[in-house]
C-alpha cells in the first residue's frame, strides 16, 4: 500500500513559497483580476448557439409535430389553433433546454434566443401558449456593460465593453430548403382505411370511389411534406420523397 505523505521541503523552500504567496496577494491587491459578473448591471456575453428561450414563427410551421414527438421531457404539447392547424406550446416547468425541438424543426419555425432570465409567478404560468411564443418575452434590461471571458496564457480575464448584447439571434436561414412530399409506394397494398386523409392537416390527401375501387390521391402542390401520414399509415406504404 502506498501512503501519501507531505512532500519534504527545506526551510528555505518553505520561506520562498510563503514569500511567493504574499507576493501574489500584494500583486492582486494593487492590480486585481475579477471573476464576478455583476449580473443585472452587467451581462455575460453568450455564444450565438446558446440554448435559451424558444421563439416560434407560425408562418413557417408545417404542422409536422416533430417537436412534440422528439421532446424528451414531454414539455411540448400541440394545441389546435383557430385556423384548424396544430401549433406547439411549451411547458417551461418541464423543458430541459436541450433544443432537440429546434434541431428537428424541418420548417425552421422554432428559433433559439439568448434569453435566460424569465421569471414566472406560478407553475401554471410556465405553460407558454403559442401566442406567447411568437414575440420575445418582456424582460427588463438593466445591463450597461457586456462581459466577455477571455483566457490568456495564465489567467482568466473579464473584458468589459459598454454595449448591449442582442438577445435574439438573427440566424441565416439554411442555404437550400429541401421540399419533401409524401408518396405512396405500393398502391396495391392500400386497404383504404382513410387514416392518412384524417391525419393530413393541409388537406392534401383525398379519396374517391371509382368503379367500386377506393382510390387515394395525394396532391403534391398542397402537401407540406410534414410526414404525419407516413407515421400513421397502417400498411406503411407511404414515404417522403423529394419534390
Amino acid at each position: 500500500m502506498k501512503k501519501v505523505t507531505v512532500p519534504e521541503q527545506s526551510t528555505v523552500e518553505k520561506a520562498v513559497r510563503h514569500a511567493a504567496a504574499i507576493g501574489v496577494a500584494v500583486k492582486e491587491s494593487v492590480y486585481p483580476l475579477t471573476a464576478t459578473v455583476q449580473y443585472p448591471r452587467q451581462r455575460k456575453k453568450m455564444p450565438d448557439n446558446f440554448r435559451g428561450y424558444i421563439l416560434f414563427d407560425p408562418e413557417k410551421c408545417i404542422n409536422c409535430w416533430e417537436c412534440a414527438f422528439i421532446c424528451p421531457a414531454n414539455a411540448i404539447r400541440m394545441k389546435e389553433a383557430p385556423n384548424k392547424k396544430y401549433y406547439p406550446t411549451i411547458d417551461y416547468g418541464r423543458c430541459i433546454f436541450c433544443h432537440f425541438c429546434i434541431d428537428s424543426c424541418s420548417g425552421g419555425a422554432l428559433r433559439a434566443t439568448k434569453i435566460h432570465d424569465v421569471a414566472y409567478k406560478d407553475m401554471d404560468e410556465m405553460l407558454t401558449l403559442t401566442e406567447e411564443m411568437i414575440e420575445p418575452p418582456e424582460i427588463i434590461r438593466e445591463d450597461k456593460k457586456l462581459v466577455e471571458y477571455q483566457i490568456d496564457e495564465k489567467d482568466l480575464r473579464l473584458k468589459k465593453t459598454r454595449e448591449e448584447d442582442n438577445l435574439i439571434v438573427e440566424k441565416a436561414p439554411p442555404p437550400v430548403e429541401i421540399q419533401m412530399v409524401s408518396q405512396c409506394i405500393d398502391r396495391a397494398s392500400c386497404i383504404g382505411c382513410h387514416v392518412c386523409e384524417h391525419v393530413c392537416e393541409s388537406g392534401a390527401i383525398s379519396s374517391s370511389i371509382a368503379n367500386g375501387v377506393m382510390r387515394m390521391k395525394i396532391d403534391t402542390d398542397t402537401c407540406t411534406g410534414c410526414g404525419l401520414c407516413v407515421k400513421e399509415c397502417s400498411m406503411q406504404i407511404l414515404t417522403l420523397v423529394r419534390k
Binding site: I22, P32, T34, A35, T36, Q38
Partner: protein, 369 residues
C-alpha cells in the same frame, strides 16, 4: 474650594494638546464661559487620549470602516467584488453602519438552555474588557495613564480577552459553542506564553517599559525581527484571524462561542474581534515600529505640532499593521487545531526564546544603547 479649582485648572492647562494651526481659534474660543472650559478639558492630554485618539472616537471610526476595508481588500485579492450594494458609488462604504442599525433593531434571542444572566452580561462585559488596554496605549506622546509599567499593564489586560470568550461559550450552553470554547482555551495557552516572552524580549531590549520612552529608541522591528515575527503571529492567533481562526471556524463550528448570539449582543462580539486587532496592532506599533515617531514633513509638521503628528504617525503605522493582519486570511488556509497547537507550543515558543536570547545578547554586548 477656589484653590482646588485653580489647582485643577492649572493641571489641565499645563498638559494641553498643542496644535499651532488651530491655536488662534482655540484662544478665542477659550474666552467663552462653558465651551472654553469644555474644549480645554477635551484637549487635556489624558482625556484626549481616552476620548479622541487612541481612545473612543478612533476605535469607533475604525470599527465602522475597518470591516469594510478588510472585506473590500480581501475581495480584491480573491477576485471578488466585496460589499457594494449599499451606496454603490462609494463602493458600499457604509455597509457596517447599515449592519449596526440592523443589529440594533434585531431581537436578542436568549435560548432556553442558556445561562441567562451570564449569557447577556458576558457579551457586554467582553466589549468593555477589550476597551480597557486603551488606557495604557499611547499615540505619540498622548497617553491616558502614564506609568513605567504601561506595557505590562496592557499585556495583562490583553490576556483578559480569552476569559470573556470562554465565558460567552460557557453561558451559551450549546454544542458548537462548547467545541469552539474548548478550542479557544487550547489556543489561548498555545499562543499566550510565546506572546508574553516576545514582549518581554522587547522590554529587555529597550530597558524600559514606558511607551513614551520607547518612541525615541530605534525600531524594534530592525533590532529584533524574530520578536516582531513572533508577536505578529501571536497577535493573529489572539484575534482569531484566518490562519488561526480555529475557535470560530465558520465551516466547522459555525462561529464557535458566538453561535447563539443575535442582535446587538452579536454586533458587540463581532466588532470586539476588530477592537482586539486594533489594540494589538497599536501595541505592535509601540513595541516594534517606534510608536508615534516619524520624520518631520516640512509644511505640515509646523502646522499640526508635534503632538498631532505623533498621533498621525501612530495611526498610519497601526493601520498598516492592521491591514497586514487582515490580509493574512486571503493568503493562508485555516490550520487544524493540532497544527495550531503544534505551531504555538513548538515553533512559536522556540522563536520567542531565541528572540529573548537575542535581546539579552544585544544589551549585554552593548550593541544597542
Amino acid at each position: 474650594m477656589e484653590e482646588v479649582i485653580n489647582e485643577l485648572m492649572g493641571t489641565i492647562m499645563s498638559n494641553q494638546l498643542n496644535i499651532p494651526a488651530l491655536q488662534p481659534v482655540l484662544d478665542s474660543v477659550s474666552q467663552l464661559p462653558v465651551v472654553g472650559l469644555l474644549i480645554s478639558f477635551i484637549l487635556w492630554k489624558p482625556v484626549f487620549a481616552l476620548l479622541i485618539c487612541p481612545g473612543l472616537s478612533t476605535v469607533g471610526i475604525l470599527l465602522l470602516f475597518f470591516p469594510w476595508v478588510e472585506r473590500k481588500l480581501c475581495g480584491r485579492i480573491q477576485w471578488r467584488v466585496g460589499p457594494r450594494e449599499i451606496v454603490p458609488w462609494l463602493g458600499g462604504l457604509i455597509q457596517l453602519l447599515a449592519d449596526t442599525l440592523r443589529f440594533l433593531f434585531q431581537e436578542v434571542i436568549v435560548h432556553k438552555d442558556a445561562h441567562r444572566p451570564y449569557f447577556l452580561q458576558f457579551a457586554f462585559l467582553s466589549f468593555i474588557a477589550a476597551l480597557l488596554p486603551l488606557l495604557f496605549l499611547n499615540a505619540g506622546n498622548v497617553i491616558a495613564i502614564e506609568t513605567p509599567y504601561a506595557i505590562q499593564a496592557m499585556l495583562a489586560l490583553v490576556c483578559l480577552f480569552p476569559f470573556f470568550i470562554l465565558g460567552l461559550g460557557w453561558a451559551s450552553n450549546s454544542r458548537f459553542a462548547y467545541i469552539g470554547t474548548v478550542r479557544e482555551a487550547f489556543m489561548y495557552f498555545a499562543y499566550e506564553i510565546s506572546f508574553i516572552i516576545a514582549v518581554i524580549a522587547m522590554v529587555v531590549l529597550y530597558g524600559t517599559s514606558n511607551p513614551l520612552e520607547m518612541a525615541d529608541k530605534p525600531w524594534g522591528l530592525i533590532l529584533n525581527p524574530i520578536a516582531a515575527f513572533t508577536f505578529f503571529v501571536g497577535a493573529a492567533m489572539a484575534t482569531s484571524r484566518m490562519p488561526f481562526e480555529i475557535a470560530e471556524a465558520d465551516q466547522e463550528v459555525a462561529a464557535g462561542p458566538h453561535v447563539e448570539y443575535s442582535g446587538i449582543a452579536f454586533g458587540l462580539i463581532y466588532v470586539m474581534c476588530y477592537e482586539k486587532a486594533y489594540i494589538l496592532a497599536g501595541l505592535m506599533t509601540v513595541l516594534f515600529l517606534g510608536g508615534g515617531s516619524g520624520p518631520d514633513i516640512p509644511g505640515i509638521t509646523p502646522l499640526l505640532g508635534n503632538d498631532l503628528m505623533g498621533i498621525v504617525w501612530f495611526l498610519i503605522k497601526t493601520i498598516i499593521v492592521l491591514t497586514t493582519l487582515f490580509v493574512l486570511r486571503t493568503i493562508y488556509p485555516r490550520y487544524r487545531l493540532d497544527q495550531g497547537l503544534n505551531i504555538g507550543w513548538g515553533a512559536m515558543i522556540t522563536l520567542s526564546l531565541i528572540a529573548l536570547a537575542l535581546s539579552i545578547v544585544l544589551v549585554q554586548g552593548g550593541i544597542v544603547l
